[in-house]
């Protein structure tokens, strides 16, 4: 079912957690709310769940305004970062909880509950743990149980708050692939909060980047990665190098190379910062007039690419470059060598008020 967040604002004392936020989530989508800590992403998730009441705005689920609905009646599946399993109940009882607390008229029979719980435990591949207690399980197992418990009430939407945040790197990677597969299987509208850009890009259908209580950008992971709407998104999604440039009528001069800046066609003449991904930089051993000279500090081979860490000879700034492995081997460079860098592709954000608009 779809979720619409309309003009939601929320303050905690003087802290503005959410500022006029609007998000549309289509039915069946898996959406990542991505942002640094304190950006308001968890607050947004809790507002959708009903655990926080917004100061302004409203939340629609499946077209129905749920802003003032009781949490109990919202039928939302929620998974906490620290699992929040009931510590004094067995795994079976944890998963059965949502069915057992239903009013008598709506409560399934004992057998039906047992069937449902076992099928959910099978779904999360932990059927054999039914009689254990939460503290006897590993973090990854607990999180899968938390998911089974949330699914037991057949929720309209599934909300996950940093679901992999407390797990170690390997388990986290396994679990997020598993979550992706599970989502493809059950097609439940799902929203998960994360501060890990890799996780957001890998798992989600759509990424919503949140910063300081506002939505910076929303879109498909690949699109957002390639076309960040703001310097914040650029720096938050992946590594980036900054170069100085000058823009004039849709063309930019950066390190002696002319690059297209189609988003600044109307700008007459302005200083701009070029945001360049590590894999969009050319490395040469021959000097050229305007290229940036840099010293190789470090080279790491990561499978088919080599990541070079260099320092610019003019400013001393660190530049990160990724080149294919065979290209690196062809260059025959080593620690301490000087190379010349030219950005191949960049996105520009103006540093000063453009003269065309100012005059």
């Amino acid at each position: 079912m779809s979720i619409q967040v309309q003009n939601v604002s929320k303050r905690f004392g003087t802290f503005e957690a959410l500022n006029d936020v609007c998000v549309d989530i289509a039915a069946g989508e898996l959406v990542a709310l991505l942002g640094p800590s304190g950006s308001g992403k968890t607050t947004l998730l809790r507002v959708i769940a009903g655990l926080e009441a917004p100061d302004a705005g409203r939340v629609l689920v499946d077209g129905e305004d749920t802003t003032h609905k009781r949490v109990q009646d919202r039928n939302v599946g929620f998974v906490f970062q620290h699992y929040a399993l009931f510590r004094h109940m067995t795994i079976f009882e944890n998963v059965a909880f949502g069915l057992r607390v239903r009013p008598r008229a709506l409560r399934p029979s004992k057998e039906a509950i047992a069937d449902k719980v076992h099928s959910l435990l099978k779904l999360v591949q932990l059927d054999w743990l039914a009689q254990r207690y939460p503290h006897q399980l590993s973090g990854g197992q607990r999180q899968r149980i938390a998911l089974a418990r949330a699914l037991a009430i057949e929720p309209k939407v599934l909300l996950l708050d940093e679901p992999f945040g407390a797990l170690d790197a390997k388990v986290r990677r396994e679990l997020r692939r598993w979550l992706r597969r599970l989502h493809d299987e059950i097609q439940l509208t799902s929203v998960f909060v994360t501060h890990d850009q890799e996780e957001a890009l890998e798992v989600s259908d759509r990424v919503v980047v949140v910063n300081r209580g506002k939505i910076e950008q929303a879109g498909e992971p690949g699109y957002v990665y390639d076309n960040p709407a703001s310097p914040f998104v650029y720096e938050f999604l992946g590594n980036v190098n900054l170069f100085e440039g000058r823009i004039s009528r849709g063309m930019a001069q950066v390190s002696g190379r002319k690059l297209a800046a189609p988003e600044h066609l109307e700008v007459e003449d302005a200083l701009a910062t070029a945001y360049v991904r590590p894999h969009d930089i050319d490395v040469a051993v021959q000097s050229s007039a305007h290229a940036v000279a840099a010293t190789v500090d470090h080279a790491v081979t990561l499978g088919s690419v080599v990541r070079l860490e260099l320092s610019r000879r003019d400013t001393g700034d660190v530049v990160e470059v990724e080149i294919p492995r065979d290209r690196y081997e062809g260059l025959k460079i080593a620690h301490g060598n000087v190379v010349w860098l030219t950005p191949r592709r960049a996105r520009f954000f103006l540093k000063e008020t453009p003269t065309a608009i100012a005059s």
Partner: protein, 280 residues
Amino acid sequence: MAAVLAPPLGISSPARRIAWVPVILVALALAYLTLFLFVPLFAVFFEALRKGWAAYGRAITDPDAWSAMRLTLLAALIAVPANLVFGVAAAWAIAKFDFHGKSVLTTLIDLPFSVSPVVSGLIYVLIFGLQGWFGPWLADHDLKVIFAVPGIVLATMFVTFPFVARELIPLMQAQGREEEEAAVLLGANAWQLLWRVTLPNVKWGLLYGVILCNARAMGEFGAVSVVSGHVRGLTNTLPLHIEILYNEYQFAAAFACASLLALLALVTLAAKAWVERKLP
């Protein structure tokens, strides 16, 4: 004991030299315990049985002693459940919800700990006594609070007020609100939340608080002494009865009754130790 307190690794001590520091410390601790704990405890039972088992039996089956015991039990039987309900309610509110005046409530709960018991008793005399605020009204309706059972129960409740709440608040705060939030999201109403999630999570802490509360309720002297009026067979609790016997030079009888309270203390201690092992 000395072996347990041996110097930590890395500090070399020659094999046969006596480590004086640990020996002295252990001796001091034992002397202290003996002087202030074991000797008095022994004295209570020794004095109680000085005139033989028959005299002991007579002292604790005396009608006045019986009525004191009944009153003590009655006061505890009312005060402990009342504070149990109040303690759970207050701890739940303070640990799981945000509201205005929360810090005021937390301070108020501690009030009985910071006020002298005699003063707590006097408060009730000032409110319900003949010269107190409600004194004339109560007298008109032929109700007695001060120098009667209700006063004793009230004073006991006041003094034991913080025990359950104080025990539960830090425990509930440490457990956080997430399990409650999870339960509500799964559809639980407030009643189901309390019985299925909150209380099971704090049951050992709760029992611990109840045990301490009960020990204090049965042993309270100061506040109860002020409101009791010391009417034998009517408004004397066990601690007050012991004082009267002692003042009348009936030492064996006084210690016999005191030994009952000492036994209660030992049972409480054992129960407390058992519950503490269950607490996380």
